[in-house]
Symmetry: C2
Subunit: 414 residues, 2 copies
C-alpha cells in the first residue's frame, strides 16, 4: 500500500491473556514500523494500556534486531500485559486525557493494540476519542486470543498453536491411558469459558485414531446424568474412555459445572478445590467405581511455543505487519483479520480489515451444527475448518536443548 | 560381541508406567532380535508378563519394518503394560510353572523385560527360576523409568525426555506467569513419589533466567510454615514466585503433604480433591491473599514424545540393542545400564551390565548434597548431571501437523 504521510512515533501494546504467538504479531508490528520512514520511534507499552497511562514506554529502536526476531518463537507477552478495562469516554474521560497527554508528549501518531475482545474495545474507544478531540492518530487492532472468539475474522492468531498443542497432547494421553489391560477413564479439561473452540480441537487427535471418545463444549447445556451415561456406555464398549471437556460447560440454568456445589455423589456436598477435570473425575469415580484420572491442561495450552503451528506464527506476524501497512496508508479504527478459503485447492488465507466497533465485545462461538446431535462430539465440519490452521512446525531455535526465548533490553523513554 | 549359539524365540515385554521412549527401547530389542539368525521368532508380550501368563504373544516378524521404526517416536507402551507383581518362587511357583509352560510351547530362549524396579525384580525371579529348573533361557532387563530411581545406572531411559519436557514447560509457564504487573504465584507439581529427579529438572529452566524460584523434593522433609515463609520472601522481593514441587513431598513424620488432612487455613479441615499443586495453592492463597495458580503436569510429562530428548531416544534404543547382544553372547540375569562421563571433553555414555539382583527393589534418590542447604533448590551439580541428557530434538515425523505414531498389526501367535 502507498503511504499517506503522517510522521510521528508508534506504540504497540499487548493486552489480555497471552498466547504462544502474540509476540509474533508484536514482531510484525515492530519490524514493519522500524522499517517505515514515517515512523520516527517505535515504543512498546509496558503492560499494555497501563504502560501508556504510566508513561512507561520501551524504545524498540534500542533493541538488537536479531534478538527481536526471537519474538516469533517466544510465548507470552514480551512487552507485558494487563487486564485494565478502560471506561466509556462519554462517562469518564480521565484515562483518555492522560493517554492523549502521553501521545502528545511522544508525538504518537500510530497506536497498535494486540489482544482479544476487550482490547479491541479499548482500541475502538481510543480511536473514537482521538477523532473527537481532533488529534490525528491511526489506531489499528491486532487480534489475539487462543479462545478464537473474535467476531468477523475466520479465526484468531494464537488459537491454532493452542489447538495443535491440545491435539498433540490428547494423542499422547490417549496412548498413555490405554496402556493397561485394566481400563481407565481420562478426563482432559481445556480452556474456553464461553466458546468451545479449544476443546473441539481435541477432535483433531482422532484423525489417526487417538482422539477423545466424548467432547463437551459450552455451546450446549451440560447434563450430568447424560454425561455419566455417555461415559458408562463407552467404557462398557471399549474398556476405556477419553473425554475432552471445556472449562466453561454449564447446566441448563447457566451455572458453571466447575463452580456448582457438588451433588451428593461425592459424599461431602460442598465446594471443592481443584478444577473441573478433578470434579468430573470424582463424579465418575463415585458413579462407576473405575479408575479415573482428571487432567487440566491449564496454562500449558496457551504458552506451549515449542509446539506452535508454523501457519499460526506466520499469520500472526502478517497481522502485525498488515496493521502497520494499513495505518501507514491512512486507515484507522480497524482490526486486521483473516478471510480463508478451504477447498480442493487447499487452504488460502487473505487479510482483511474489520470495523473495530463490530468486533469489540462480540463473541463468536462454535456453530451448533458443528456439534453432533447428542451433544458429545464435533462434526467433520470442525475438522475441515481447524486442520489447515495447525500445519507446520515452529522453527524455534534451541540452546542447550531448551528454547531460546527473547530477552529485551527494555530501555524506557524519558 | 560373538554369539554363543542358543537357537529359539525371544519375548519382549513392557511393564509399569510408560514413558516417551520406552518404545525406543523395545524397538532396540525387536530390531536387533529380528536381525539375529539364532532368534527364530520375536514375540511381543501383550501387557507384559500378564501377556506371557495368558499366552498372548504378538508376532513382531509379522509387522511392517517401516511401521516398527515409528516405535522410536511413539510414547507409551505399544505392546501394552501391566502392574502385575509376581510372587516369590519359593513361596508360590504357580506363575512360574505357567511361564515355563508358555516358554516351552514357543521355545522361548530369550526374555527381555522393559521397565522399572518391579520389572527388574520380575526379571530376576524368572531368571533364577529358569536356572533352578534347568531351562536354558537368557533373561536381560532393559531399564525404563521417568522417575530415574534405578540403582547402579547413571540414569534411566525415559527420565531425560520427561526432564526436557518439564524444563521446557517451566520456561513457558515462567514467561506466562510474569505477564501482568499484578504479581502471580505459580506452583507446578511434577511426578516423583519417592525421588525428586523430575522436579529437580525444573531447575534447567533457570539456565536462561526462566527457572523456578523454589524447588521442593521428597529427599528432604517438607515444612509448611517454612514453605509459606519462602514463598512470601520471594514474592515480596520479586513481585511473583514460581515453585516446582514433587508430588512426593512429605512432612517429617513421613506423611505425604498431598494426602494430609488440610490444616485450618482453608476453613474446612477435610481431605480435598485435586492434587498437591491445588492444595498448596489454597494454602498460599489463605496465607498471603495473592493470586495463586496450581498446575499439575500430570501424565503429560511422561508421554510428551513431541518434546523427547534425542539423546534419550538414542540411549533407549541402544539399551534394547545391547540387551539382545548381551543375551546372544551368552549372558543372563543382568540389566543394561549406563556409565557416563561429564568433563571438559563433554558427555560420554557407555553401556554396562548390572546384576539384576542388585538393581531390583533399590531406589536411587537425588543426593542430599545436590540440594541447597535451605532445602528449597538444587545445586549446579544437578545441572551438570542432567543437562547433557536432554540434548537434541526428536525427529518424530508429522502427518497433517500431528505426530505419526506406530500402529501395530498385532498378529497373535496360536
Amino acid at each position: 500500500m502507498s503511504e499517506k504521510a503522517l510522521v510521528g512515533s508508534a506504540i504497540i501494546g499487548q493486552s489480555g491473556g497471552p498466547s504462544a504467538v502474540i509476540n509474533a504479531s508484536a514482531y510484525g508490528v515492530i519490524k514493519t514500523a522500524l522499517e517505515s520512514k514515517n515512523i520516527t520511534t517505535v515504543y512498546g507499552a509496558y503492560h499494555g494500556i497501563v504502560g501508556v497511562l504510566n508513561d512507561q514506554l520501551m524504545i524498540m529502536d534500542e533493541e538488537d534486531p536479531k534478538e527481536l526476531e526471537k519474538l516469533l518463537y517466544t510465548p507470552s507477552s514480551a512487552l507485558g500485559s494487563c487486564r485494565y478495562k478502560i471506561a466509556d469516554p462519554d462517562e469518564d474521560d480521565t484515562d483518555y486525557k492522560r493517554i492523549l497527554e502521553v501521545f502528545r508528549k511522544h508525538n504518537v501518531r500510530y497506536f497498535f493494540y494486540n489482544g482479544g475482545n476487550d482490547s479491541m474495545d479499548t482500541c475502538n474507544k481510543i480511536s473514537r476519542y482521538c477523532a473527537k478531540v481532533g488529534y490525528e492518530c491511526r489506531v489499528i487492532g491486532v487480534p489475539k486470543t487462543i479462545d478464537n472468539d473474535l467476531y468477523g475474522t475466520d479465526h484468531c492468531p494464537g488459537f491454532a498453536s493452542a489447538a495443535k498443542y491440545i491435539a498433540t497432547s490428547i494423542m499422547e494421553v490417549s496412548r498413555d491411558s490405554q496402556v493397561y489391560s485394566t481400563g481407565m477413564i481420562t478426563i482432559v479439561e481445556c480452556m474456553g469459558r464461553h466458546a468451545g473452540w479449544l476443546t473441539a480441537a481435541a477432535a483433531l487427535a482422532g484423525l489417526k485414531g487417538d482422539g477423545p471418545d466424548l467432547i463437551y463444549l459450552p455451546e450446549r447445556s451440560f447434563d450430568m446424568d447424560q454425561f455419566i451415561a455417555d461415559v458408562k456406555r463407552v467404557y462398557e464398549e471399549k474398556g476405556d474412555c477419553l473425554v475432552a471437556v471445556s472449562e466453561g460447560i454449564h447446566y441448563a440454568d447457566g451455572s458453571f459445572v466447575s463452580e456448582a456445589k457438588t451433588s451428593g455423589t461425592d459424599g461431602f456436598g460442598h465446594a471443592q478445590l481443584g478444577g473441573l477435570a478433578a470434579r468430573l473425575a470424582s463424579v465418575i469415580k463415585a458413579a462407576l467405581n473405575v479408575k479415573v484420572r482428571g487432567i487440566e491442561l491449564s496454562l500449558l495450552q496457551r504458552c506451549a511455543s515449542h509446539c506452535a503451528s508454523a501457519t499460526d506464527i506466520e499469520e500472526s506476524f502478517q497481522s502485525g505487519k498488515r496493521a502497520v501497512e494499513a495505518a501507514l496508508s491512512g486507515i484507522t479504527g480497524k482490526m486486521v483479520g483473516f478471510r480463508c478459503q478451504r477447498d480442493e485447492n487447499g487452504y488460502q488465507c487473505s487479510y482483511e480489515l474489520f470495523n473495530l466497533a463490530d468486533v469489540a465485545n462480540t463473541e463468536k462461538k462454535v456453530p451448533l451444527e458443528w456439534i453432533t446431535p447428542d451433544g458429545n462430539h464435533v462434526t467433520d465440519d470442525f475438522i475441515r475448518y481447524c486442520l489447515p490452521l495447525i500445519q507446520g512446525e515452529t522453527r524455534q531455535s534451541k540452546v542447550d536443548g531448551l528454547p531460546d526465548f527473547v530477552h529485551l533490553r527494555r530501555v524506557f523513554a524519558k
